[in-house]
């Protein structure tokens, strides 16, 4: 691998890691779409900042971006508080308006400047190595710093974040202002988004803030592990995305977002316990066990009654319990294998252990 390639991947991995961390909390707090809103409105912050600072490379632009993020959240809350707009609608009203203002300002005033609107969505990772600070690509420096800040913030406020995410009321009662935590999180999202903008654009920021944490959510119950898995999956999306994009000669960010999706789907299918395949198997087993339980209870109920001869047959099961013949057959076989029933031609009878099991079921 050339240094060029290494540097690009390094920037990408740093972006992925920096995004994954606030992303975990966005997903857990059910405000994932704020990443969508904020990654668009940071453009507004940048434009206003540029008006004032007149320098596209001024690091203070990050403050304006953070401010735009806070503004987005405040305006959404304001709309919410009128009581006439729902949460998701509020977000959907605020960010397009701010983004529109930004786009208009740009196209009217800045046609010649680097602020290319297309790039806003996609960024251009391929240019990362060309923009250097000393010996190192600027991207590495910027994203490295942001990643560090995110890690430090999460480390410092870990227990507050944890508490406020799962129990807002209790957090407030203990004196941790949930509002402060919320705004703090959004500020982190804004800063991360604006840092990542140059390289990956808003769409990949959204993808990296949501897809890896969502996948991690399917893999673990523990917050710490969720953070680690998110970073790993994010980094994997970045690296695999880079190589696929190189191979097919297509846009890198778009491919990375696609790979984030692909990895998510893989986890969705194969996650132990919570994956779709695992659940399908669980459901089947539960259904089988359920059917056996119903069979035993049914036999017990009609045992020793005059209708026993007609009731406790397979055909009757089909009729009465509304089972398909195949299901009835399979269930009977399963029950027999467990030693719970005996089958003499058509008639079914409970064994001693079968009867005991049925009694336990009925007592539940």
């Amino acid at each position: 691998m050339t240094q060029f390639q290494i540097e690009i991947q390094l920037v990408a991995v740093l972006v992925a890691a920096a995004c994954a961390i606030p992303g975990v909390f966005l997903v857990l707090r059910r405000v994932a779409l704020m990443s969508d809103a904020i990654s668009h409105t940071v453009l507004f912050g940048i434009v206003i900042g540029f008006f004032i600072l007149k320098d596209i490379n001024n690091p203070l632009l990050i403050l304006f971006a953070a401010g735009a993020g806070v503004l987005t959240v405040s305006l959404s809350e304001l709309l919410l508080r009128t009581g006439r707009v729902r949460e998701d609608a509020a977000i959907g009203l605020v960010f397009p308006a701010l983004f529109s203002i930004a786009v208009i300002l740009i196209t009217q005033n800045f046609q010649n400047i680097h602020l290319d609107v297309d790039a806003v969505l996609l960024g251009e990772l391929a240019f990362a190595p060309f923009n250097r600070v000393g010996d190192v690509p600027r991207g590495v420096v910027v994203m490295g710093i942001i990643l560090l800040i995110n890690i430090v913030l999460i480390g410092l406020f870990y227990k507050e974040l944890k508490l406020a995410t799962f129990d807002t009321g209790m957090a407030a009662a203990l004196g941790f202002s949930p509002a402060l935590i919320h705004y703090g999180l959004m500020t982190s999202v804004s800063v991360t988004a604006v840092g990542a903008f140059d390289h990956v654009g808003s769409i990949l920021v959204i993808a990296l803030m949501i897809a890896p944490p969502a996948a991690a959510y399917l893999l673990t119950d523990r917050l710490g592990r969720m953070l680690v898995y998110s970073v790993i999956i994010g980094a994997a999306s970045a690296i695999s995305g880079y190589w696929v994009a190189r191979e097919l000669n297509v846009n890198i960010s778009g491919t990375m977002a696609t790979m984030a999706g692909v990895l998510f789907v893989i986890v969705l299918l194969t996650a132990p316990e919570r994956g779709l395949v695992a659940r399908a198997i669980q459901r089947k087993r539960r259904g089988e066990r359920f059917a056996v339980e119903m069979l035993l209870v049914h036999l017990k109920r009609h045992e020793y009654t005059s209708e026993a001869a007609s009731e406790n047959t397979i055909n009757h099961l089909v009729e009465e319990l509304n089972w398909k013949p195949k299901l009835a057959q399979a269930t009977v076989q399963r029950a027999a294998r467990q030693g719970w029933i005996e089958r003499r031609r058509d008639a079914l009878t409970l064994t001693e252990s079968g009867r005991q099991t049925a009694v336990n079921l009925l007592a539940r």
Binding site: A32, D36, L79, R84, S100, V117, N249, A257
Partner: protein, 344 residues
């Protein structure tokens, strides 16, 4: 802005198309916005518009032409696949709807952008219009586009008229509708499809990023003005149309002005005005009502104090630690004043 001659709307071919297209877009998306808002599917617009991108590009790859109808169909299919994936994720896992939406939105769009970059590297100029889908470009609207949009729009409106009571019922009480024997699943699919169609129709005008506003804003604005569903839908369509036409006119006469953002600003302004000033529901009126109520309450309390004090003229001469039963706590200064006023 340069001096603008209204007759240009009718005379100039481009402007006419642009305005007509925006009119259709506004009416269709406005109408469906009302339903989306009532069914709590507001952000469907955002998700669908992003998810549609790969559909548009694949349709282009298959048909080789930038004709509106195949692109619309491609967008619809992609939109529907996105919806299905979202439903699957929320139904089968503990991932919530917002994350599912964000996932589908960003991954589909990213995929679309990757496809687009591949397409633009292919020879042939036919694909040039595709990046208009990002921010919308009214000037790119040709008569054929308008015709297609209009036909689709008419179809959509007809379906709404025909299935009016069914759509109303499933938007209000789906479970009850099921017990009446209504084919709820079918109607749900149909209505969601219409919303997807509205999104897709508007894409070329407003662009992917901003389409969400067109599905959220008109309905929210309209709701503030009326309590009748029919009126709400009509208003919603009107607001959409007004915003669309405004944006189209401004962007086709000003230099370098993309259509989408202007339309969005127009509809956002309408929302703000509606939220603040609509009769009854308007926030300003409610504020005034609150102040008035508080004013009335203060007056009542003040009157009570006067009455209470007038019944006990010797209050101020009683020693401080004597228990005096009073309905409302009164400051000694106040009662002295009141006593002074009411001295018989």
């Amino acid at each position: 802005m340069n001096g603008f001659d209204l007759s240009l709307i009718f005379l100039d071919y481009t402007i006419r198309n642009v305005v007509l297209g925006a009119l259709v877009l506004g009416i269709v998306s406005g109408t469906l916005s009302a339903f989306a808002v009532l069914r709590k599917q507001s952000l469907l617009g955002d998700t669908m518009s992003h998810a549609a991108l790969p559909g548009v590009i694949i349709a282009f790859l298959i048909t080789g032409v930038r004709a509106p109808l195949p692109l619309l169909i491609g967008a619809m299919i992609a939109g529907w696949i996105g919806t299905l994936i979202m439903r699957l994720i929320t139904a089968e896992t503990r991932i919530k709807q917002d994350s599912a939406q964000g996932l589908v939105l960003s991954v589909f769009f990213g995929f679309g952008m990757a496809l687009l970059s591949w397409v633009t590297r292919q020879p042939g100029a036919e694909h040039s219009g595709l990046d208009n889908f990002l921010f919308g470009q009214a000037a790119a609207t040709v008569a054929e586009d308008v015709q297609t949009m209009a036909m689709v729009g008419i179809l959509v409106l007809m379906l709404i008229v025909v299935f009016w009571k069914e759509f109303k019922l499933i938007s209000f009480d789906m479970q009850y509708a099921k017990t009446l024997g209504l084919r709820v699943g079918l109607m749900d699919v149909l209505l969601t499809t219409l919303i997807v169609v509205a999104v897709v129709v508007g894409l070329q005008m407003v662009g992917v990023v901003l389409m969400s506003a067109m599905i959220v804003a008109p309905g929210v604005a309209a709701r503030q003005w009326t309590n009748r569903l029919g009126v709400m839908i009509g208003l919603s369509a009107m607001f959409g149309a007004a915003a669309g036409v405004t944006g189209a006119l401004v962007s086709s006469t000003a230099l370098n002005m993309p259509t989408g953002p202007v339309i969005v600003l127009a509809i956002s302004a309408i929302v703000v005005v509606s939220l603040l000033f609509a009769p009854e529901r308007g926030v300003i009126w409610e504020h005034i009502r609150q102040l008035r109520r508080r004013g009335v309450l203060h007056a009542q309390i003040a009157r009570q104090r006067l009455i209470t004090d007038s019944k006990r003229p010797a209050i101020s001469s009683q020693p401080a630690n004597q228990p005096v039963a009073q309905p409302i706590p009164v400051q000694s200064g106040g009662s002295a004043n009141a006593k002074g006023v009411l001295k018989p």
